[in-house]
């Protein structure tokens, strides 16, 4: 390296260290969020420059002379060699979803420090490594999927584990994000009107794209975006008019609406609803991420939340359990998200033009997603802590009445008043902000706070709030549509083995049946969450985190196995380190969620506490049915958690068996890569790049 370059990197390291030191040590006085952003940014820069380079050159040995699947199978459709910035955009748009926005908001109950450290360190050493290695493995194997690689490289049992893991995670994931939307739209005519309008807007876009201007996605997205903005503004007038009651519903009704919507989206032609929504949400998502970064830099907000709160002891109101393991389960996306490995072994490897690009696309996109999680954390910390807890705590913990809630929360040392909450609710155009669990409303308040300081002042706060809610709901619903549809295809594929016609994806009886099964599966968990007095997030979000980490375990096991087969066992620690950490987190969390003696943490303890109440006759006769349902749901959740833990153990044992045999020399590692064909873009003497 040149001297001045060394100097630049030293400055970056010093700023990063200084930022970290500030956020870790400052006590008593509020810190400016810029420190958080600076520290994170510097660590990402260092991680990218040095660690990803090490992985690219030493560990994986990316080779630009070797033709990628995109070049070898170029068909102008699936396999298309594409500019690396374009692939980066595609890949980032595909991996970035609601996860990194919601997780940090929930985990902020511990204070901003634990979540921030996990996002940054987990991102650099875990998530980005997983995405990068999975992408690389898929590129070297003609763009194969994770499930296929697990089958080929580990064993067919490993492959089936991956298949079931994907189906399970899809169902839990959809249920939990749908719950977030329901909680955000509860009794909010403005919010519901805006979201409802996105459906006819999507229809219009779909028709426009199909018949008027086929394939002109960008201009259609811009038209759609303008219409959605109009819907956000119009929502205020609807909420203040005689129409309001038609858009005001409680949780259970909204849950049924979303279930009906999910079914419709799965059976309707994809060009009509799913695809245009997806374009709209991608457009809004990329825009908002950039706007939020700009907003934070311009406003430089002060973080009012302390670095650590008393809830590190496990008694938190938003979700119960100690920092270890629950902080690392709650924040999955943003630090390490197993779901990414499906994208990294899906469309992306078929677009990569040169192997060297995998570094920026795989490692780089994940760092950007990690940065989005940091911004969400900042949005949580700009609220007064009392307000943050009042918005995010379920009625079952702090009390359903505002007076009870403010008293409970103030007694924890986070002062908040009824009048302050009422004023804030009025400012953002909502009836109430108490017990709005799920993270979305509090993120929207934080974002509205930041945006309104840049543009419009408190007069536009309500518009910004509903813009933020629309933004979150938009891509949650996109995920729900797309997930239900993929789940339907997977199920049809599976059932087709038993009876051929069920596997036909255009046979309407089969389409209807399998869609209904998938929707019923996530709909059940969603409904259970909506009627749960503890808010549902408390039980469903950890389940989602665990299932996501399960996929990450599979991806890292595949990565490690391939590293060993490449005779790179001495570098296996690159994937084994995050794997080891994930295993300890996932296993501890699964065990605690099932067997912990505290009813707020352990599913079985909660079921026991409820049945004791039933046995003692402490339940009013009218509520007996509901309590019995809660007991059943607790046991079901325990079983689901147990299955996840079992799948993790299974894939690990299967992989470890292979590693052991290679180590003892009982089995010769066979590397199953695609053939080495010299790329037409290769330049002489080039080994790696990007």
């Amino acid at each position: 390296m040149r001297h001045w370059k060394k100097l630049v990197w030293m400055v970056v390291a010093v700023i990063g260290a200084l930022g970290l030191a500030m956020i870790a040590t400052v006590r008593g006085e509020p810190l400016n969020a810029v420190w958080l952003i600076a520290a994170a940014g510097c660590i990402y820069a260092l991680g990218y420059r040095f660690y990803s380079r090490f992985i690219a050159y030493r560990v994986l040995e990316l080779n630009n002379r070797r033709a990628t699947p995109a070049e070898r199978f170029d068909d102008g459709r699936d396999f298309v060699p594409t500019n690396k910035w374009v692939v980066f955009g595609h890949h980032f748009a595909a991996i970035a979803g609601p996860g990194p926005l919601v997780g940090p908001i929930l985990a902020a109950q511990f204070g901003y420090l634990p979540g921030t450290l996990w996002i940054v360190i987990g991102g650099v050493l875990g998530g980005a490594v997983q995405d990068f290695t999975t992408l690389f493995c898929s590129i070297r194997r003609d763009g194969k999927s994770l499930g296929q690689m697990a089958k080929d490289e580990i064993s067919s049992l490993g492959g089936y584990t991956a298949l079931f893991g994907v189906l399970f995670i899809m169902i839990i994931l959809i249920a939990v994000v749908a719950l977030v939307v329901v909680n955000a739209l509860k009794n909010s005519p403005w919010g519901l009107f805006t979201i409802a309008m996105t459906i006819p807007i999507a229809f219009l876009m779909g028709i426009y794209l199909r018949w008027l201007r086929p394939g002109k996605v960008l201009e259609t997205s811009i038209i759609g975006f303008v219409l959605v903005l109009a819907a956000v503004v119009a929502g205020r007038y609807v909420a203040e008019s005689w129409l309001a009651p038609y858009f005001t519903y409680g949780g259970p009704t909204l849950a049924w609406m979303i279930i009906a919507y999910g079914f419709a989206a799965s059976v309707l032609p994809v060009w009509l609803l799913l695809a245009p929504r997806d374009y709209l949400s991608t457009f809004v998502k990329l825009g908002v991420v950039m706007a939020l970064a700009l907003g934070i830099i311009l406003v430089r907000p002060t973080m009012l939340l302390p670095p650590l709160t008393r809830f590190v002891d496990g008694t938190g109101p938003i979700f119960a359990g100690k920092i270890f393991p629950f902080c690392f389960i709650t924040i999955a996306c943003g630090a390490i998200s197993g779901f990414h490995s499906l994208i990294a072994s899906g469309t992306t490897p078929k677009l990569i033009m040169q192997e060297g690009h995998a570094r920026m696309v795989g490692y780089g996109s994940m760092l950007l997603e990690s940065f989005v999680a940091i911004m969400a954390m900042v949005a949580a910390t700009v609220l007064e802590p009392g307000v943050y807890f009042a918005v995010n705590s379920p009625a079952g913990i702090v009390g359903a009445l505002p007076a009870q809630a403010v008293q409970t929360i103030s007694s924890w040392g986070f002062p908040v008043t009824e009048s302050a909450m009422a004023e804030l609710a009025q400012k953002v155009g909502e009836v109430t902000l108490f017990n709005r669990t799920g993270g979305a409303p509090s993120l929207a308040v934080g974002m509205a706070h930041i945006f309104s300081k840049v543009l419009g002042g408190s007069g536009l706060m309500a518009i910004w709030y509903h813009f933020a809610i629309m933004f979150e709901a938009l891509f949650i619903l996109t995920l729900l549509d797309a997930g239900t549809r993929v789940g339907r295809f997977m199920l049809q594929d599976l059932l087709g083995h038993f009876w051929k016609p069920l596997g036909r994806t255009s046979w309407y009886p089969s389409v209807t049946l399998t869609s209904a099964v998938i929707v019923a599966a996530w709909g059940y968990f969603l409904y259970q969450g909506v009627v749960d007095p503890l808010g549902g997030i408390n039980s469903l979000w950890p389940l989602f985190g665990i299932s996501n980490q399960l996929l990450a375990t599979i991806a890292l096991c595949v990565g490690t196995t391939i590293l060993i087969k490449m005779r790179k066992a001495r570098y296996a620690w690159v994937t084994l380190t995050p794997l080891g950490w994930l295993l300890s987190v996932t296993m501890t969390a699964s065990y605690q969620k099932v067997f912990h003696p505290h009813p707020r943490i352990g599913f079985l303890a909660h079921a026991r506490a409820l049945s004791d109440q039933l046995a003692a006759g402490a339940v009013p006769p009218g509520d007996i049915g509901q309590v019995q349902r809660l007991i059943f749901n607790d046991r079901l959740d325990a079983v689901v958690t147990g299955i996840f833990a079992l799948l993790v153990a299974l894939i690990l044992v299967e992989s470890a068996r292979q590693w052991w045999m290679y180590a003892l020399g009982q089995k010769q590692p066979v590397l199953q890569e695609g053939p080495m064909v010299v790329s037409k873009w290769a330049t002489e003497g080039e080994e790696a790049g990007g």
Partner: protein, 60 residues
Amino acid sequence: MAKARRVLWRIWEMVREVFGDKAYDRYAEHIRTHGGEPLTREEFYVSQLQRKYTRPSRCC
């Protein structure tokens, strides 16, 4: 000035490509050079969507 315009144009082209506006042109080009029976713009658009949404395309 001219250089700035060129850079902006490049960025705009890339944004269009990320959104998939140029997918058909690429496909048509591929058919032209490699041969085969081309789909119309509309057929291509719909069939690409069918393929795209049968596998995980969106993440959490």
